[in-house]
Symmetry: C2
Subunit: 350 residues, 2 copies
């Protein structure tokens, strides 16, 4: 079932076939020890490339194994791929928004973007240039199906999303999710404090973002402002994508644009929507409009592979477009049971 984030009423995605784009980026923030579990320890910056390879090919090439958390929870990319197997996306393409490792065997859009630096020392992003690159791609992307799902893979992205919101002046410190069940608040808080100490009131929004944000948020904010003029965009993610909406809402004033919010939906998982350690509703309530926002009510209760049930306990939660992919599956008459079985078939085959 697909439900409205705000009131749990029944909701839905647009009709028809969706293209899937993965906004893949690295922020060196992910290399701060203990900040994320989105990947293999010591090789976290590989995660976006592995996620990209996996959703496109159901196989990884840049490393022998698929990314999983240290507790063994496999990447949410599994859900995205399982839905694709049962009801394919019109196409799957990758946006290289600053990667160390180029994903193999993928269709990649290259924007000549480098990984951003760790926010505790300043991200050092040319935010205006990056935002304009996003806008340009939003004007140019050739839609294949009826609408677009835009997912992301950015390890430590919930931390940079929190820094982004705080740097822009939103009072949302406790609202951001994490891939951890037990959020590592100490290292996270230290990182946020250090990042925010580099930001001041005299800076423009672009300067603040260039210091405390990540490539994915800034590029996608530019992208959706333009793309939603032409077609419906489903932002696939949790609190990170909610932060992307904050960025777009703030920057559209700088570039004097209206946002066509009718053509925009945020879609996430129930694990994010109902997470007690974060508050996506509160983030979304800061927007100048009420956004379409939904979650897929999906569960691994029927799974045979025990580690998958960790999702239902709150590990990992979201990423690589999993929530929107599940909603896409439900929209196309797939059942929770079919999707669980397909995920397990993929895992047994690996």
């Amino acid at each position: 079932m697909i439900k409205n984030i705000f009131d749990d009423s029944l909701s839905s995605l647009p009709k028809g076939n969706a293209d899937f784009l993965l906004a893949a980026s690295v922020t060196r923030t992910c290399e701060l020890e203990g900040i994320t579990q989105a990947g293999i320890p010591g090789k976290i910056p590989l995660t976006p490339a592995l996620d990209a390879e996996f959703i496109v090919n159901q196989k990884v090439f840049s490393l022998g194994e698929l990314a999983e958390t240290p507790t063994g929870v496999p990447t949410p990319a599994l859900m995205t791929r399982a839905v694709h197997n049962l009801r394919s996306f019109t196409s799957i393409e990758i946006l290289d928004l600053g990667l160390d490792t180029k994903p193999q065997n993928c269709r990649i859009h290259d924007f000549e973007i480098s990984p951003s630096k760790a926010i505790n020392k300043g991200a050092d992003i040319n935010a205006q240039e990056l935002f304009y690159k996003g806008m340009k791609f939003g004007r140019e992307y050739e839609l294949k199906g009826n609408y677009l799902i835009l997912g992301e893979s950015t390890p430590s992205g919930t931390t940079t999303a929190a820094a982004t919101a705080l740097a822009l002046g939103y009072e949302l410190e406790e609202c951001f999710s994490s891939s951890f069940l037990n959020v590592p608040n100490k290292i996270r808080k230290k990182t946020l404090d250090e990042a925010l100490s580099l930001v001041n009131e005299k800076m423009s929004s672009f300067e603040k973002l260039g210091t405390a944000s990540d490539n994915m948020l800034i590029f996608c904010a530019g992208f959706l402002l333009e793309a939603t003029k032409r077609f419906h965009v489903v932002l696939a993610g949790g609190t990170q994508m909610a932060a992307c909406l904050l960025v777009a809402d703030k920057l559209r004033e700088d570039v004097l644009m209206r946002l066509n919010s009718d053509n925009l939906t945020l879609a996430t998982t129930a694990w994010v929507a109902k997470d007690k350690n974060s508050d996506i509703k509160k983030i979304l309530s800061q927007l100048s409009y009420t956004p379409n926002a939904l979650y897929a009510e999906f569960s691994f209760a029927s799974a045979e592979i025990p580690i998958l049930k960790k999702y239902d306990e709150g590990e990992a939660k979201e990423g690589v477009g999993a929530g929107a992919a599940l909603a896409y599956g439900f929209s196309n008459a797939l059942t929770n049971e079919q999707i669980v079985k397909e995920i397990e078939a993929i895992m047994y085959g690996m």
Copy 2:
């Protein structure tokens, strides 16, 4: 249902997920007036690019409309894409074996091959070099799923396939299929006669192929000799792919190789298997081994869109891997009815 070509007994594809490769090529033979109906008159050489774009994106970019025959029968690529929508291939990639127009929004393997000339004046192919390129790719292609489906899009390819078999000395003149219900025997015979007049007994097999064949047949023959050492290859097509097996069988003597025929299956449609104007069984019987060969028993009897029923009458018949794709769908528990409905949903959406 999937059936054995030779005795109509029940047959099956390998288990698991299949990668899909499309061998796309142009022979200028297709520009001889009246020789093919695989495309839009005057723009036949565009057909492989449009087929590639369509199976990858469910949309064409290089022209406003999808290829269809002059009588309005839409490309068999529709069947391939419909199956992908309901049970996705692990990946879909395109082999550029000599195209005028590069397909847009596709993953393309580029081998620096030019379209071959019309066989009535000599195809002018460096067959040995091309065959070795195919062998090299057969050693290097990185399999994603459990096996590979190799389809083709080569307008007028049944004519060049017939010329190929005859040039190599097989007495199979009446055995080759056509995209026409009523085969244009006059222009076809003239073309074959002219092509064969350029071939003589003193020529090596490579020289004969370089004169009377097409890029797809020669490259794929090299490819399958090597690839079948590593994984199962399903040659997806009718009499053209049967000719490809003849080429491989002949050339493996020149390169002193064994063919691992256990790892090879030809898969086509019932429209080819039961075609009264051609004889795929007889072609296959010329091989030095008995090949795995099957067809998908699929019908448009339940279709709402009348033009689709032309397939059941014998128009178009096969191409772009349609037969193997249908068999892949059946192998994954899709029904004839589901596939027909998906094909119609795609057509209604265009």
